[in-house]
């Protein structure tokens, strides 16, 4: 089971968990990640986050990342949902769920998908708040995190 969605609407954590559990009755382990809009940037209050993306490329990039994860680990199911548009503070941005027989594959694949998404999927965040508005800068640590998957284990 592979479920990849790019959408403005919020996702239901409970529904997605039920979907992946029902699709993967052999799963012994499901790891999930939820990325959220923080309500502060430093000391200043954030009111909104705008997420822009590159329609067409985004979907291809996400499918390619999920495909790589499936090649690397014995996954029974993957769900990947990323929201776009204008989101309020504390809103959910991204959901990754990986189901496997055992926990190690589920944990590693979930972290891998997030590390690649952070550096290869064409999304851009703008933060709006007491500080005015600014585009979020890419973090060098995200590139480093991705590189670590290419080192000999």
């Amino acid at each position: 089971m592979r479920r990849v969605l790019v959408q403005a609407a919020d996702f239901s954590y409970a529904d997605e968990m039920q979907t992946i559990q029902q699709a993967c009755p052999q799963a012994g382990a499901i790891t999930s990640f939820v990325g959220l809009v923080r309500d502060q940037v430093g000391e200043a209050r954030l009111s909104q986050m705008v997420i822009e993306h590159y329609p067409g490329m985004t979907e291809k990039a996400l499918h390619a990342i999920v495909e790589q994860a499936n090649v690397r680990w014995p996954l029974l199911g993957v769900t990947l949902i990323h929201r776009t548009g204008v989101l309020p503070a504390n809103a959910q941005i991204v959901l990754v769920m990986t189901a496997s027989l055992h926990r190690q594959a589920a944990f590693d694949a979930c972290a891998f998908i997030m590390d690649y998404l952070k550096t290869e999927a064409p999304f851009w965040k703008k933060e709006i708040g007491e500080f005015g508005e600014h585009w979020v800068e890419a973090r060098a640590s995200d590139e480093t995190a991705k590189q670590q998957w290419n080192q000999p284990q």
Binding site: K60, H82, T119, F123, W124, K126
Partner: protein, 85 residues
């Protein structure tokens, strides 16, 4: 050759375009040549492509580096390093 060029995020705001169709001279067929050609449009474009900020590129939805080549009717996109998730 004729290609479509897209701009995203901060870059879209700087150049004030989200997309355009451009007719290129014959020798402009790599990302680096396209950057140099666009940079000649003026100060804002010069700063964008020859300044200190990183500009990433994609051809037909695939991330590429500066030496990548494109063809007639391709879609080339310029954008800042991605920040999703």
């Amino acid at each position: 050759m004729k290609i479509t060029v897209l701009y995203f995020a901060r870059i879209k705001e700087v150049v004030n375009y989200s997309s355009e169709i451009v007719e290129l001279p014959a020798q402009v067929e790599t990302i680096i040549a396209l950057k140099a050609w666009l940079a000649k449009r003026g100060e804002v474009w010069q700063q964008l492509f020859h300044g200190s900020g990183v500009v990433r590129a994609a051809i037909n939805h695939a991330l590429v580096d500066d030496m990548a080549t494109f063809e007639e009717d391709d879609e080339v996109a310029f954008f800042p390093p991605v920040t999703g998730g």
